[in-house]
């Protein structure tokens, strides 16, 4: 099957899957996307059949630069891994050994996927657990922001032992969200009810601070230089946290009420922000204090997750189009990778060199985008 035929068959399969009654709005958007792709592919086939000479000329003179550009940015191969049903994978993290950990928020477990064997193990995080975030620590272990039990959790990757640091009881329920490690091995975390905090695993000391503008702290990241930044979804700003004093300084994105949801740093310490309300991806340069923002493609985009890969390409999840989007800051162009299932609902992205992982909370799958 040639390239065009494959594309037509794939698009037809998706379009036909979406036709029965009961398909949701996300399904319809995905069907519309593939119908457009189908029309383009059919038109290309007609041209190729009716105008072979023209097609040859086009292929000879036009396609090499296009494919050259793709090769430079890297072809992307996608692979999906089915997980046990009902877990609702919220966040994902891949270790240096290639093992992938994910939070099964709905079932209160931490999942472990071995991509080589496709084997999935589930580790219970205890009664009342509803884990939100997971990251890999400098010790190679998965660390979890355990929203259900108001605690930071480490799971030993070998013994599967669960170790828990509870937040001070006086703080009440903080709705723990995401964590990041600083350069001194301490865990920084956000609580959506209006706090951020720091845990030193070596001493067990935990400090929790009120966020400057109350509710909202969501995504958090560490720059290569060791600075800590978090995003405030409800507060529509980002904040830089002094790793020594814990003081947070708010920084205003240029778009009012943008809903800064998650943050990630590129190799130069510039902060990339996924803006839920505005549908923008924006970038803050701490050196120049300058912002720049780009609107994601589509009629009414919503940018949920953001992750910057080892080549400083920016990956986002676009909720409205049910797609992962890659943004190239050099060319300022977007490339969309729609999910092959409606309602993927990707809430976070994380990876390692050559791999970008996205948990599809709505389909109980982990999807990897391989860029090597």
């Amino acid at each position: 099957m040639d390239r065009f035929s494959e594309r037509v068959a794939a698009a037809e399969a998706v379009v036909n899957r979406g036709k029965p009654d009961g398909v949701g709005w996300q399904g319809r958007r995905q069907v519309e996307y593939h119908e457009r792709a189908l029309r383009t592919a059919r038109f290309s086939m007609e041209v190729a059949m009716r105008r072979p000479l023209l097609t040859f000329v086009l292929i000879s003179f036009l396609l090499p630069p296009v494919f050259g550009a793709r090769a430079a940015s890297g072809e992307v191969a996608t692979q999906a891994y089915a997980l046990p049903a009902g877990g609702g994978p919220h966040d994902v993290a891949v270790g240096a050994d290639g093992i992938v950990w994910y939070t099964a928020q709905r079932s209160g477990q931490l999942g472990r996927l071995d991509p080589a064997s496709r084997k999935v193990d589930l580790i219970s995080l205890g009664p009342g657990a509803a884990p939100h975030g997971v990251i890999i620590g400098p010790d190679g272990a998965p660390w979890v922001t355990e929203g259900g039990t108001n605690s930071i959790v480490r799971v030993d990757p070998r013994t599967r032992e669960v170790h828990r640091w509870s937040l001070p009881e006086a703080r009440g329920y903080v709705n723990l969200n995401t964590a990041t490690f600083d350069k001194r091995g301490r865990v920084w975390f956000t609580g959506q009810n209006g706090v951020y905090g720091r845990l030193d695993p070596a001493s067990g000391e935990m400090q929790v601070w009120d966020a400057p503008r109350g509710r909202g702290p969501y995504g958090i990241t560490t720059t290569p230089g060791g600075d800590i930044y978090y995003a405030s979804l409800a507060g529509s700003h980002i904040a830089r946290v002094d790793p020594d004093t814990g003081a947070a300084t708010t920084i205003e994105p240029p778009t009012r009420g943008q809903g800064a949801r998650r943050v990630w740093s590129d190799s130069r310490g510039r902060i990339w922000v996924s803006e839920w309300n505005s549908g923008n991806v924006s970038r803050y340069d701490p050196q120049t204090k300058e912002w720049k923002a780009w609107k994601l493609p589509g009629d009414s985009p919503r940018a949920y997750a953001v992750y910057v890969d080892e080549r400083d390409k920016v990956w986002l999840s676009e909720w409205s189009a049910n797609a992962i989007v890659r943004f190239d800051p050099e060319t300022e162009t977007f490339e969309a990778f729609p999910s092959d299932r409606p309602g993927a609902n990707v809430r976070q992205i994380l990876g390692r060199a050559g791999e970008v992982w996205a948990p599809e909370s709505g389909t109980d799958r982990l999807v990897v985008y391989r860029t090597k």
Binding site: G108, G148, N193, A234, G362
Partner: protein
């Protein structure tokens, strides 16, 4: 309504005995606090203001950008009653596929009852206190 905050399947950390019903509901609402308010005029949060939610048609609060799924269900006649709220809070994604509310659900019926009581009571008060409770 969408992001009643990422919370647990049960508010296991809450003291369920000895606390007065009003206090229990307010504490369960901490699961919702990050995204919702019951204070009149406190808008601009990730979720819609829940003051007066009972009796409201789904997806119709002026000024809030609801998911297409929520708007569609409202157009089909979904109205928030104690019963529909209870079903939604028990399993948001199952009750309303396409909802943007991230919370996995409150599996304990008492928690749902308490928080619905709180929403109902707060809507009747002239000015409930906006606060994060310990």
């Amino acid at each position: 309504m969408w992001l009643l905050a990422a919370g647990a399947v049960t508010a296991a950390w809450l003291p369920r005995t000895g606390a007065d019903p009003a206090r229990r509901g307010e504490r369960v609402f901490q699961r919702c606090f990050a995204c919702h308010s019951v204070v009149a005029g406190e808008d601009g949060l990730p979720g819609p203001n829940l003051r007066g939610v009972i009796g409201r048609r789904a997806g119709t609060l002026p000024g809030f950008r609801f998911s297409p799924a929520m708007i569609e269900q409202g157009a089909r006649g979904l109205v928030w009653t104690r019963a529909t709220l209870d079903a939604y809070l028990a399993d948001p994604a199952g009750f309303l596929p396409g909802t943007e509310m991230a919370m996995p659900g409150l599996s304990v019926a008492d928690d749902r009852r308490d928080v619905i009581d709180y929403l109902q009571r707060s809507s009747q008060q002239s000015s409930p206190t906006p606060r994060r409770t310990p």
